[in-house]
């Protein structure tokens, strides 16, 4: 009995140590910073597109008015937990003013200026637009929202940012620190992404076309999605069935296969193929890209740093922020890109 108790205690301690290591090991900011740049640019683009028809989607005579959206988002018990500053804006001038302010916030986040503040603002603005755009949102908005949410948790501006560059210029350069909050942000993003894929896989496994191998063929024939004519592929039903089955198994087991170092590269490579395919063939470049940006969470910071340092060497300007880490001029501040 004592042995059993000891074994259970040892197991409990091992779980505790594993949890502690998983969540509370400091992490370098390079991965999160790259996600900030790509995710911030995606947020900027997504909201920039709203600009083209702002009044039609958020104005007082929008396709779906604020009152209609409030009713649509109500729970069966009559409560409504959605919120948005856009529910309250009736004046077109104020709508444009707040929208332009939102675009500036996204641009600042992408550039990494005042990142601690802009990341929080970007998250609030993103959620606010998402709630108000009920009835017209899709997967892109879901991914955008959780990327924005986790960017504000960690030190997203710790590197590759104007914050860092300005600190370097002012001589207040501090070493790039691995941080616990950065690790928590990346871990949350990783686990959230696993849940997304798990239910994506479970959802597909409930549909016959994903079992008889015809789902991919059907998707190619939806004209409203089609951005690349791949109907010639219908001549190869076995190939389409293979892609169909591969998608289901990859999505369902992503949450297991992405963690071991052995299978992670394969898992991420499949993500590039699947989301690249969606982006190119099914007319959803933004959604495909957003999913790939979220997948960056599984790229190690040292790999991000090595890649960006290599890219920085290709930049010809000696004193540009990207190349200054390669050949720093005497007396010049260190790169804000990479410290080695």
């Amino acid at each position: 009995m004592n042995e059993l108790l000891a074994a259970i205690t040892a197991w409990g301690r091992a779980v505790g140590r594993g949890w502690d290591r998983f969540w509370f090991t400091p992490q370098q900011p390079h991965t999160l910073a790259l996600i900030r740049i790509c995710g911030g640019a995606m947020l900027l683009y997504t909201h920039l597109v709203w600009t083209l028809d702002l009044d039609a989607f958020f104005g007082p005579r929008a396709w779906l008015t604020a009152d209609a959206v409030r009713l649509m988002t109500q729970d069966p018990d009559g409560r409504n937990y959605t919120w948005s500053h856009l529910y309250w804006i009736q004046s077109p001038a104020l709508l444009w003013l707040t929208h332009i302010a939102a675009l500036i916030v996204f641009a600042l986040l992408t550039a990494g200026l005042w990142t601690r503040v802009t990341s929080v603002l970007a998250c609030l603005i993103t959620l606010s637009y998402c709630h108000r755009s009920t009835g017209v949102w899709f997967g892109l908005d879901q991914i955008n929202a959780f990327i924005a949410m986790y960017l504000m948790v960690g030190s997203a501006g710790g590197v590759y940012s104007l914050d860092r560059w300005l600190a370097c210029r002012s001589g207040a350069e501090a070493p790039i620190q691995p941080r616990i909050d950065t690790n928590v942000a990346v871990r949350l993003l990783q686990v959230h992404l696993c849940i997304v894929y798990l239910f994506g896989g479970i959802g597909k496994a409930r549909g016959l076309p994903w079992w008889d191998g015809s789902a991919m063929a059907s998707a190619l024939t939806i004209q409203e999605y089609q951005s690349l004519n791949l109907l010639w592929m219908l001549r190869y039903p076995a190939l389409l069935a293979l892609l169909t089955h591969l998608t289901v198994f990859w999505e369902t087991f992503y949450c297991f296969l992405v963690w071991p170092k052995l299978t992670r590269p394969v898992c991420l490579l499949l993500a590039v193929f699947v989301h690249g395919g969606i982006a190119l063939a099914l007319g959803m470049k933004t959604f495909g890209l957003a999913m790939l940006i979220a997948n960056l969470a599984f790229v190690y910071p040292e790999h991000v740093r090595a890649t960006i340092t290599w890219l920085a060497r290709l930049v010809p300007h000696k004193h540009s922020p990207l190349s200054s880490g390669v050949e720093p001029a005497a007396g010049r501040p260190q790169s804000f890109v990479a410290a080695r």
Partner: protein, 243 residues
Amino acid sequence: MPKRHAAAERESQPNAAEKDGALPLWVKLLVSGVIAFHLAAVFLAPMAFATEDSSPLVNRLYSLVRPYTTALYLNHGYFFFAPETGPAHLVDYKVEFADGRPPVSGRFPNLATERPRLLYHRHFMLSESLYNRFEPAAPLPEPSPPPLTATADQKLAWELSRREYDRYLARWKFRQPQFAAMRKSVEEHLKSQYGGSQVQVTLIEHRLLTPIEIERGERRLDAPETFITLPETPPAPPTGAGR
């Protein structure tokens, strides 16, 4: 040591405090609690979607985190292109004018006028939402009670269908005003856009070609006969609560 290398050295090593676990235990416990709650909420949202309100356990647990998931926009099923890659849905509209001008007809989404692709996709999602949230103006009639001479099995069958109908009716009462508000809003938008006096909105289903049709190559994806006007009444009897 050159400055660059010194910086690299500093960077590669976590500072002593963090290495030794600078966070006090109570902070770690607190953060762990928040993380566990958040991830439970992230998991329960698609779980509730997948179980379609049928699991008493998931319903109960999800009701605890529903305000949190809704407020943080985490209340999604993530069923992308699932369970089936069905047909697309569009909206046809006709705007009429009080001053005798000829009516204007149109359809959305429309790739020719809605650019870039993301803007087109917003219109596409609007037409899909109108379809997904459709509820007829009047509910289906309730099932007739069994005759007095009915057997016990027939009475039981009626009891079951009656319960199912009650669930359907509750769902209809909840969803119909939402659809009506949505439709009215779309109509008002079109009226204001064109300056019209009357708007008629029709839901269209663009059916997929069958493999045989594609194999024969006799019909294009956009053949007019593949666009079907959807009836304003539900085609099938109620099947109970579902999404």
